[in-house]
């Protein structure tokens, strides 16, 4: 089972990202589970969403406290929230940032696997808004092919209809532009 924790701000679509991943996995015939950090929705406040993917039924229903991957949608979260808390020893932090792997490593003192992409810029150029949830899915898939990228197309089209193609393009660009440093991770 793979466990992914997503950090973003309320309104940025972290929950939607988790949902798209789970639905894509389910459409592939596997099992997916996505859920928000339960509570009142607060636009702009740091929020968390969770996603589990497995090839057998998922029974656990507690929060994800020891994720395999942490996906950070908003660069400002890195300095507010301890996003790598509980990250598995060979886990990978995947973040939206304009800085390089070594710059982020130095600033945050990170030893874990790290992937970076300037998702805000991609989202601005492709979507015209700094909403990075679909863009960051491209970064996640670059780090590990947890689902077939093509499986995301259908749930993306269902969800975004008119602007689906632009989201798919942003996702593909992130896939190309993400820089991954697996470091000590086992991936």
């Amino acid at each position: 089972m793979l466990e992914i924790r997503l950090h973003g701000r309320g309104g940025q679509g972290a929950v939607t990202s988790a949902e798209l991943l789970a639905v894509a996995a389910i459409n592939e015939g596997n099992y997916g589970q996505a859920f928000p950090s339960f509570g009142p929705e607060r636009r702009g406040a740091p929020v968390v969403a969770f996603c589990r993917i497995d090839d057998k039924p998922i029974k656990i229903r507690s929060n994800i406290n020891e994720p395999d991957f942490v996906l950070v949608l908003d660069p400002s979260i890195l300095r507010l929230v301890n996003v790598t808390e509980g990250l598995k020893e060979n886990g990978i932090l995947i973040t939206n940032t304009k800085y390089s792997v070594s710059e982020i490593r130095d600033e945050l003192g990170l030893k874990c696997g790290l992937a970076v992409v300037n998702a805000s810029r991609i989202a601005m150029e492709e979507l015209g808004v700094p909403v990075t949830n679909t863009t960051m899915l491209g970064a996640l898939l670059k780090v590990k092919a947890i689902i077939n990228p093509d499986s995301l197309a259908e749930p993306l089209r269902e969800r975004f209809s008119r602007i689906a193609e632009r989201n798919i393009k942003a996702l593909k660009r992130a896939f190309e532009e993400t820089v991954v440093d697996y470091h000590s991770s086992g991936v």
């Binding site: 789970a22 639905v23 589970q33 859920f35 339960f38 229903r61 929060n63």
Partner: protein, 393 residues
Amino acid sequence: MGNRIGLEVSLSAAEAVKMANVDCIAAYPITPQTHIVEHLSELVNDGHLDAEFIPVESEHSAMSVCAGVSAAGARVFTCTSSQGLALMNEIVHIVASMRLPIVTILANRSLSGPLSIWNDHTDVMSIRDCGWIQVFANNGQEVFDHVLFGFKVAENENVMLPLMIHIDGFILTHVIEPVEFWEKDQVEKYLPVFKPVHSLHPDKPVTMGAFGMPFIFSEAKVAQDEPLIQSKSVITAAWKELGDITGRYYKPVETYRNDDAETLFITQGSYGDTVSLVVDELREEGKSVGLVMDRLWRPFPFNEFRDAVKNADNLIIIDRAISYGGQGGPLAIELRSVMYGEKNQPAITNFICGLAGRDMTIKDFKNIYQRAMEKVKGITLEEDYEYYGVRGK
């Protein structure tokens, strides 16, 4: 079977209500039930479900509308949570006495105060004695299946009682997971058109919900309790038929690795799946542990429960509600009573946990197991119950 799709449990619950082809929905939105009613109002508005959606001004009115609609012979659904249930409480008791087959989903949430929107079973236990058939669903698929099951059982002419499906708020209602839909013809075969035994009609006047003088009240109450007790045979038959269609066979008491287990966890609702993983881990550590999940809450399945625990030395009962000043959580109080007089009395420990959505992990349940073993070995003082993980105690 129909399509297997990934969908939020609330939405698949609403889709099941649509497949049940209800005539009317009367509901008031309340967290965490909201997505169910929202989706139903969309389905009605968009013409996917030919039903009256009555957006009432309170939950008291919601259940009152359900009473009228059901008495007129129509199929009706509502759902609520916590404070909403508290507000509709008066009518919840009355519709049971009137033998009206209303189906309700209760998205389980703690009763205030302090004000909370999160999950526990304090709302469930507040209406334990309301005279409804009550079942717990442990995942999205079970929610979907039990909506159809609910109408089938409630409307059976030998039952004619309201039925409540308990689903954990947020832990289930807000989770996207796979659910297998039924085909339309499977639903039609399983759930025939509702044929009320009596219904309100101007051409054929009847009195429903009449005044009960002391000379008849007790008789009326026995006439209400007996069909509830007897509904168990209809319930098990409806589960059998559901299993023959879907391959999913449900039981009043579900068990997991219980046969040879010295110690059994006892759970209700969605904790069951998580605790089954705890059982697997403890077994790998050489511990003799199993799990018993109560699915049917009312009528309580006495024989099935006693049979499921008959080989166990210790029962660890997990409660998500409080009986203030009572002998533990409501489930533990009930089960101690169920086991009273049995030849082999297991040691019973009771833990109240997960109140207002406090996350319960595998590690937490393993801590509970550890603590329970200390208690039964007499390492610590025996207590009637213990709040798990509470600071300042």
